[in-house]
């Protein structure tokens, strides 16, 4: 058990899947505006998608995970790409790249979506906010090099500007409203998937009530020179602790949220990934986005495979790449994300299985280190999402 291997294996689990491949690894890993604070707090720094990020702090993944489910946790997500879109009809134009109804996204609202390719696969997932005089888009860290040229090339007459001078900090958990609201009362008035601009400690920040943990909370875009000061102010709250990428991964997995590169990629369609909820009715009916043929066909006829929740019956975690077999011993799919769910108190996983085996309640076998381990197909999420609607 060489001491380096643990971390390396973890990084591989998160990056050896397409995310890492598109990143320019020849550069030294980049640092976010919060780097010095991570080091001061004892964060264990790893290279994630070309960024030097804390995988955990001294509290540990399990403790940080529970902190977020029970109270509040702060995550640095500044490695994600923040992009501003300006121009006439940005929402309509985004509809040519995404199956979401962005033309009708109201000011002050945010909406989850994805870029699809011509084959109906997912190029990346993203959050688009209508900020009034512009649109604010957040994309995955490793895919900013793909997404920004993609928007520049395809959104005619739209000015696409990547922001490099702002941190992005997520405050998540049932106490997030108090942690952020104590410093910024306007944050309390936001509902899930709403966004606004407000002052925190005298600095104008973009505050959006959303996240990727399954809990209530915020993502806050902060000018880089104020990022540490404001993050420290959140951490000064009794109910708030710093949490790293490890907890972020186990939280989103329990919440049944897809990780790009693991659960969704260029080959998986949104319908296969059970993301049909994220395509609004008008777009489903009218099409007019890349890959609409496949996506509309799968909506009508059902997909050949489906992303499902998988609950191993034993204690052994089933990780990415584990083969899924039917009770009869036929290969029916593969685990795409899996590990230990601290809130569930046992192993949890997601994976694709052929459509005939996707119904909750079905028994399958997971081939872990050569041995079949029984598991149950279950409805996602594993932990009830706790959003403030």
């Amino acid at each position: 058990m060489p001491n380096g291997r643990v971390t390396i294996a973890f990084c591989t689990a998160l990056t050896d899947n397409g995310i890492g491949k598109v990143t320019d690894m020849t550069d030294a890993p980049k640092r976010t505006p919060l780097y010095d604070l991570h080091v001061e707090l004892g964060g264990k720094m790893v290279d994630f998608a070309g960024w030097e990020m804390p995988v955990q702090y001294p509290l540990g993944i399990m403790g940080e995970h529970k902190q977020c489910r029970e109270k509040a946790a702060v995550f640095d997500v500044s490695h994600m790409g923040q992009v501003i879109l300006r121009g006439e009809g940005v929402g309509e134009k985004l509809e040519s790249l995404c199956p979401q109804a962005y033309a009708t996204l109201k000011e002050g609202k945010a909406r989850y979506g994805f870029f699809t390719n011509a084959e109906g696969g997912i190029m990346d997932d993203l959050i688009v906010s209508n900020a009034g005089d512009h649109y604010f888009v957040v994309v995955n860290a490793a895919l900013r090099h793909q997404d920004i040229p993609h928007m520049q090339a395809n959104l005619d007459g739209v000015e696409v500007t990547e922001i490099f001078d702002r941190a992005l900090v997520a405050v998540q958990g049932p106490k997030a409203e108090d942690v952020v609201g104590d410093l910024c009362p306007a944050a309390r008035d936001l509902k899930f998937m709403e966004t606004t601009v407000a002052d925190i400690l005298g600095t104008e920040c973009r505050i959006s009530r959303l996240g990727y943990t399954g809990e209530d909370g915020y993502e806050i875009s902060i000018p880089e020179d104020k990022a540490i000061e404001i993050t420290r102010a959140f951490l000064a709250h009794d109910d708030c602790e710093a949490a790293g990428l490890g907890a972020r991964d186990s939280l989103r997995l329990e919440a049944g949220l897809c990780l790009y590169g693991n659960d969704i990629d260029q080959s998986t369609s949104p319908i296969e990934a059970s993301l049909g909820w994220a395509i609004q009715k008008r777009r489903k009916e009218e099409g007019g986005f890349p890959g609409a043929d496949r996506i509309q066909r799968e909506l009508a006829d059902g997909p050949a495979r489906k992303l499902v929740g998988i609950k191993p019956e034993g204690r052994a975690p089933a990780r990415q790449g584990v083969e899924i077999q039917s009770a009869e011993g036929n290969t029916i799919g593969q685990i795409t994300s899996g590990g230990f769910g601290p809130t569930v108190g046992g192993p949890v996983a997601m994976g694709y299985v052929s459509a005939g085996h996707a119904a909750p309640g079905g028994m399958v076998n997971l081939i872990i280190r050569g041995k079949p381990q029984p598991a149950l197909i279950v409805a996602l999420p594993f932990v009830t999402q706790n959003y403030k609607r």
Binding site: M1, P2, N3, R5, V6, T7, A9, F10, A13, V55, Q56, G60, I61, M62, H65, G246, S250, R315, A316, P317, R319, G339, F340, P342, P347, R369
Partner: protein, 121 residues
């Protein structure tokens, strides 16, 4: 009784031709929260450097490698229900196996406590 350490971060407490084996505190800290231990069975024989179990933390799975040739004579079955003990007392209560050593000369390749401390820096 003498304690030896391997480069794979195991400790082995030798008493005649039997020994108790586990992972070091350093290994447990690096692994983080342990959630599952896969152990072999009493009577299983193994060769030095062979895989004799898997320890899974929240982060990742790590193999346990045999520091010497031997045979498993006792398995710490409490770890199945309480894998977290490996974080609390990895060099005590949370031992993993008791083994019979078949080639005591292999112990010479292992480190003593001072050597291991240098090794992990």
């Amino acid at each position: 009784m003498a304690t030896y350490y391997s480069e794979e971060h195991e400790w082995i407490d030798v008493n005649g031709d039997t020994a108790t084996l586990g992972i070091t505190k350093h290994a447990a800290e690096q692994l983080g929260d342990v959630v599952f231990v896969e152990q072999q069975e009493v009577g299983d024989e193994f060769a030095k450097d062979g895989e004799i179990g898997v320890i899974e933390s929240v982060k990742a799975a790590s193999e346990l490698y045999a520091p010497v040739d031997g045979e498993i004579v006792e398995v710490n079955e409490t770890l199945a229900d309480n894998p977290g003990a490996l974080n609390e007392d990895p060099e005590g209560e949370a031992w993993i196996y008791k083994i019979k050593i078949t080639d005591a000369s292999q112990l010479e390749d292992l480190m003593d406590e001072a050597g291991y401390k240098d090794f992990i820096g």
